[in-house]
């Protein structure tokens, strides 16, 4: 027995990562990551958005090369130069945006790029029996090799990717937020499949910020914070609270500044808003000097609510009033002139114009005011108008002439918010304002929102990150299947209650 134990201890870990660093330009994405995952284990990788999880996984998948540090698979050095090479070494990535061709069948997707052929004619017999075997092992009955991927739901598509990984004899399967687009039964099935994978000796790296999920499926965990490994341990022996503390590295109060706010009059009143498909029913009142949070899961209709409210999508019903003034046909131009600004969740396409300078971006909506009588706009005027915002929003940029593309995500978002403020907006509709922004910059966005609310602006903030809503908002309403629930004061909500409301009580 003893020799067996010794032998086992001697076997190198399936995946070993040591001292990995990665820089992008001046930004340290990773500064010293260590990780060890064994064969037949679900290893959870924890960390807040921007902690470096995605960068680390891209290195494992061969999409990026590390600046420093080393990786080993089963004791052999592993330095893939391409995703293809990583895959050939047995590493399979299952990304949030699934990598499938919707117009091909499951079998064609699984074999894509590795088809066997005679004179160019596909020979799928062997691949088909392998796929059937894999699907049988995974106990998948909802689709077959001949099903078209376009007809499969998100849960099934994910299983297609897992099946593809297994058909390639993957040793390490990386799941990046695997449950973020799945329904509850699909999540259960994914858990079952994952357990089968692990039993067969596959190593699963599970990236998620849902800790109850990690508790349910994980064996061990590694925590990243600001690009560093800051903790590791056995999942069953660690409480969720301990994991949160390690991930955040600070208490929640510090991260969410809150100055005294005085609630004013109702600014925006929405009753029975319905779009062509979504939302189905949304009613709320937004007062000046408050931040109203809207929580909901992907696809619940939050973005659609903002878009139809703002006149970007057609509305089929609803009473809109701004300071008592009824708005019959909402149009973006009209809202802007009334001082209501919308910040899209899609920053790169709808938030800022990446190739334009900071000054051009900030004055984009207010350019008419800066124009001369002939319609010309002097660059000086735009830069002068922008200058005050640089300080007010603590924008980190050398010059207002710098293109927005060169800024970090957090500073880009500040530019987008500055544009709304510069054109005189006092009511802000913000859709996922902290998406894709690193931790430090997020706190700055929270601070900015807090200050704006304290100044008497009315802010509606949509987010799928519950802690930030609980931390920054005065009231929170939860959206579920296109219906917006009643807004209740923050103190009345717990994370569990909000999640239950967002999932229709199935949580």
């Amino acid at each position: 027995m003893e020799t067996g134990a010794v032998l086992q201890r001697r076997r190198p870990p399936r995946l070993q990562i040591k001292g990995v660093c990665k820089r992008f330009g001046g930004v340290h994405a990773l500064r010293g990551v260590d990780l060890e995952a064994d064969m037949g284990e679900v290893h959870a990788l924890l960390g807040e958005n921007g902690a470096g999880k995605s960068t680390l996984m891209k290195i494992v998948a061969g999409a990026h090369a590390p600046d420093e540090g080393e990786l080993w698979i089963d004791g052999a050095p592993f330095a893939p130069s391409s995703p293809r090479e990583a895959r050939d070494r047995g590493v399979a990535m299952i990304y949030q945006e699934l990598n499938l061709c919707p117009h091909l069948s499951v079998l064609e997707n699984v074999t894509l790029g590795r088809e066997r052929a005679r004179f160019g004619v596909k020979r799928l017999g062997a691949a088909r029996s392998r796929l059937n075997q894999v699907l049988g092992d995974l106990d998948v009955k909802s689709f077959s090799g001949d099903s078209m991927v376009s007809e499969l739901g998100p849960g099934d598509r994910q299983l297609v990717e897992i099946a593809r990984a297994l058909c390639f004899d993957a040793k390490i399967i990386v799941f990046d937020e695997p449950t973020s687009s799945l329904s509850a039964p699909d999540v259960e099935r994914l858990f079952r499949v994952t357990r089968r994978l692990v039993e067969s000796g596959v190593t699963v790296l599970w990236i998620s910020h849902f800790l109850d999920e990690v508790k349910a499926i994980g064996n061990r965990f590694t925590v990243l914070r600001d690009g560093e490994t800051v903790g590791r341990g056995d999942v069953p022996e660690t409480s969720t609270e301990e994991m949160v503390t390690t991930m955040a590295g600070r208490s929640v109060e510090e991260a969410y500044p809150r100055s005294p706010r005085s609630l004013g009059d109702v600014v925006l009143s929405v009753r029975g808003l319905a779009g062509s498909r979504s939302p189905r029913e949304a009613s709320f009142e937004l007062r000046s000097g408050e931040i109203l949070g809207v929580f909901g899961l992907v696809g619940a209709g939050r973005t659609e609510m903002l878009r139809s409210l703002y006149g970007l999508d057609p509305i089929s019903a609803g009473d809109l009033q701004l300071r008592g003034l009824p708005i019959r046909r909402p149009r973006p131009r009209h809202w802007v002139s009334l001082g209501v600004g919308l910040l899209s969740e899609d920053r790169a396409n709808e938030g800022v114009a990446l190739d334009l300078s900071i000054a051009d971006n900030v004055t984009l909506s207010s350019v008419r005011r800066l124009a001369s009588r002939l319609g010309t706009v002097a660059r000086r005027a735009r830069e002068q108008a922008t200058e005050p915002w640089r300080e007010r929003l603590s924008l980190r940029a050398g010059s207002t002439r710098q293109p927005v593309r060169d800024l970090s995500g957090g500073n880009q978002q500040k530019v987008a918010i500055a544009r709304l403020l510069e054109c005189g907006a006092d009511t802000l509709l913000l859709d996922e304002p902290t998406r894709g922004i690193d931790v430090g910059a997020r706190v700055e966005v929270y601070r900015l929102l807090d200050r704006l609310a304290a100044e008497g602006k009315a802010i509606l903030m949509v987010s799928s990150h519950l802690p930030e809503l609980l931390g920054t908002c005065d009231r929170i309403a939860v959206m579920h299947r296109g219906v917006l629930g009643a807004a209740r004061p923050c103190e009345d909500w717990t994370e569990d209650a909000a999640l239950a409301a967002a999932t229709g009580g199935t949580h």
Partner: protein
């Protein structure tokens, strides 16, 4: 934890959509035939006229076979009409030089393939958008055709090439048993048979070969195809060469039809070709489009032209109609994918 709040489309909705995709082009054809059957003079609904339309389908049909591959891969080819003209001029010059029918036809197809090689090369090596590249070759190939032809029609002996587009082909070469038992409606222009054969081969290529799977994969999700190890650039290059070679073949037959090499022929035919493919159910965003659909689409376009001619509808009305049909078909496709995407 249900993080997706949307129901999947039911299986019945999926099945209904598939049936519509298949039946749609046929319905369009029936509508057009029915419309002209009511409006056009009697001659329209006759076997003889059906054969005429079939012959008139050949040029657009052959090019549409190639264009199906391009559109399925998410690309577009605007240079088709000019390629047809260039190939017809090259074939005529070769015939004039006394090279004989087969070598001349081969040269015509090669001239087409050369345009395709330029298209494919620019798209894959310089990574230019196909719309711009083929807009460029639309002009350049037409210019090359005029240059080679010295800006006039090239008179040349057409030999048996003219038989290809003849509605009453010389069948004396066939064995006597076949000749006597052949029903008259089967005596089609050889070009129609050539188109049918090409369509069968292309359908096989698209459905059963790796090349077909890669074509679809590139149109469906190019980054994924690359990640999976599909040689995206090489495949695209081959698609453009194949498509332009088909247009070159169409040019050879165009020479057979006109019996001269005309550098100004097939002007604007790319619109008919794209319309045929899109009517056949292809989406301009890639991933879809069948050979059968493109053939129906091409037949519909020819029927439309034929019906307009017989009913005395002026040419410019036809041109407006073709434009409207393209916009209409793409709008339908947009509505369809919006419904699917939501």
């Amino acid at each position: 934890m249900a993080l997706e709040d949307q129901p999947d489309p039911g299986p019945s909705a999926v099945a209904a959509r598939q049936v519509m995709d298949l039946v749609g082009p046929f319905l369009g054809l029936i509508v057009v035939v029915g419309l002209f059957g009511a409006v056009a003079p009697e001659g329209f609904l006759s076997v003889f006229n059906a054969k005429t339309i079939a012959t008139q389908t050949v040029i657009v049909g052959l090019a549409a076979i190639g264009a199906t591959f391009i559109i399925r891969s998410g690309g577009i080819d605007l240079s088709v009409g000019s390629t047809v003209a260039l190939a017809s001029v090259v074939t005529a010059l070769a015939m004039k030089a006394g090279l004989g029918e087969l070598p001349s036809a081969l040269l015509g197809v090669l001239a087409g393939a050369a345009v395709g090689a330029i298209n494919g090369g620019l798209v894959t090596i310089l990574r230019l958008p196909p719309f711009i590249v083929t807009l460029g070759t639309l002009g350049a190939a037409r210019g090359a055709a005029k240059w080679l032809a010295d800006e006039q029609k090239v008179d040349a002996p057409s030999g048996w090439l003219k038989q290809f587009m003849s509605k009453n082909p010389d069948i004396s070469g066939l064995p006597e048993v076949v000749r006597e038992n052949l029903p008259s409606w089967l005596i089609l222009a050889p070009g129609v048979w050539l188109m049918g054969l090409s369509a069968l081969c292309a359908a096989f290529l698209l459905r059963r070969t790796i090349f077909g799977a890669w074509t679809t994969a590139i149109g469906s999700n190019e980054p994924t195809a690359r990640l999976c190890g599909v040689p995206v650039e090489r495949t695209k290059f081959a698609i453009y060469v194949l498509a332009s070679a088909m247009a070159g073949l169409a040019g050879v037959l165009q020479f057979g039809r006109l019996t001269v090499g005309d550098p100004t022929t097939a002007m604007g035919k790319e619109l008919d070709v794209i319309a045929a493919v899109v009517i056949g159910g292809a989406s301009l965003s890639g991933g879809t489009g069948t050979i059968l659909g493109a053939m129906i689409g091409a037949f519909l376009m020819a029927t439309l032209a034929n019906g307009c001619n017989l009913s005395g509808v002026p040419n410019f009305v036809q041109e407006i109609l073709v434009g409207a049909i393209i916009v209409g078909a793409v709008t339908l496709d947009g509505l369809r994918s919006r419904r699917e995407g939501s």
